[in-house]
């Protein structure tokens, strides 16, 4: 415990450790769908209310006059053995809310950048963001156009990704597909962080 604060509940049991994965990508690319597909509970939504000044709301009187925006993030939960709990956060679609991204990317195990082949460029800002931040990420191409065989190497080039960034196809509505994306992300994150991948079961 870094904070030195109590990490035990009323009954003295140790609290689990929470980890998170970020699901990013352009508008309407399937972020909320992916969160919902894997979440064990109904996905929830967390909101931040912004004012024009974004900070400094210290008296109530002026609040109504300020223009406010709500930034929402959808998130879901998966409970793991060994007292770990995994949260998945779908980033807000609009790129101008970078401060929310910072909050959600800090301490993330890794990120999935969802891409739509019809609008590949939409995922550039997400790719740039995680590259700059050094967050391990993979690109998952959401197959809106059906099970077509996309040339993943071509997408890799189009996105100007390094050869070490995995690119894969997915269907955000399919549990098996989302599981594979997330497991591949974790394996990639281990590699990026210099951890040996788990031994193959023979």
């Amino acid at each position: 415990m870094v904070s030195g604060l109590s990490s035990r509940g009323a009954d003295g049991r140790r609290l689990p450790t929470a980890v998170k994965i970020v699901i990013a990508g352009g508008f309407g690319v399937g972020k909320t769908t992916m969160v919902g597909t894997v979440s064990e509970t109904r996905p929830l939504r967390t909101e931040e209310v912004l004012t024009d000044e974004s900070v400094g709301v210290d008296d109530v009187s002026g609040v109504e006059r300020k223009k406010t925006t709500t930034v929402a993030m959808d998130f879901g939960r998966i409970t793991m053995r060994d007292e770990y709990v995994l949260y998945l956060f779908g980033t807000p679609g609009q790129e101008r809310f970078w401060f929310m991204w910072d909050e959600v990317a800090l301490g993330a195990l890794g990120a999935v950048v969802l891409a739509d082949t019809r609008r590949l460029a939409d995922c550039f800002p997400s790719v740039d963001y995680f590259e700059r931040r050094g967050t391990p990420f993979i690109v998952a191409v959401n197959c809106f156009e059906g099970e077509q065989a996309f040339d993943l190497a071509e997408i890799q080039t189009a996105l100007n990704l390094g050869p070490n960034v995995p690119v894969m196809l997915c269907d955000a509505r399919s549990l098996e597909s989302c599981k594979k994306v997330l497991i591949d992300l974790i394996l990639h994150a281990m590699k990026v962080r210099g951890l040996a991948p788990e031994p193959q079961q023979a």
Partner: protein
């Protein structure tokens, strides 16, 4: 941005699966934002205009649990603080609290700081970024995903 859509709702049972460390579900929280002046104003009233919690960082995935059983009386607390104590009878992340309470993150953070200050909640901050080299963590996550 679309809220999670209705057709998918049957996927989640009314009672979500309870992991070992969960207590029985708390009673539903009464709606908080019934004030006609609307949700834009009330959060700042609840926190008396404060923007930072008195104590604690409260990351989105900081886990919070009540340090006391559900209070009978008011303990001099407002309804929102009491709602947090009710919800955190089972371990819950800050993000989940904001979702259940339908309040902005900043507001919930300030209220959590108050409760922490009074010793009414305990919390577990997530691993700092630098500490993410524990291979057991990755193995547990992979196993958990495989088991879905």
């Amino acid at each position: 941005m679309m809220p999670p859509e209705d057709p998918t709702q049957e996927r989640w049972p009314d009672e979500p699966p309870r992991p070992a460390w969960h207590e029985p579900a708390p009673p539903p929280v009464p709606p908080l934002l019934d004030d006609p002046s609307g949700p834009m104003v009330r959060p700042y009233v609840m926190t008396s205009g404060r923007l930072e919690p008195a104590r604690g960082k409260f990351d989105l995935i900081t886990l919070v649990v009540a340090a006391i059983p559900e209070p009978d009386g008011q303990l001099g607390l407002g309804p929102e603080h009491l709602a947090i104590l009710r919800l955190t009878q089972q371990v819950m992340s800050v993000a989940e609290l904001t979702g259940h309470l339908d309040l902005p993150i900043a507001t919930v953070r300030v209220m959590l700081g108050d409760l922490l200050d009074q010793g009414l909640i305990s919390m577990q901050e997530p691993e700092p970024e630098a500490d993410m080299h524990d291979i057991r963590l990755y193995k547990a996550v992979i196993d958990g995903l495989r088991a879905l």
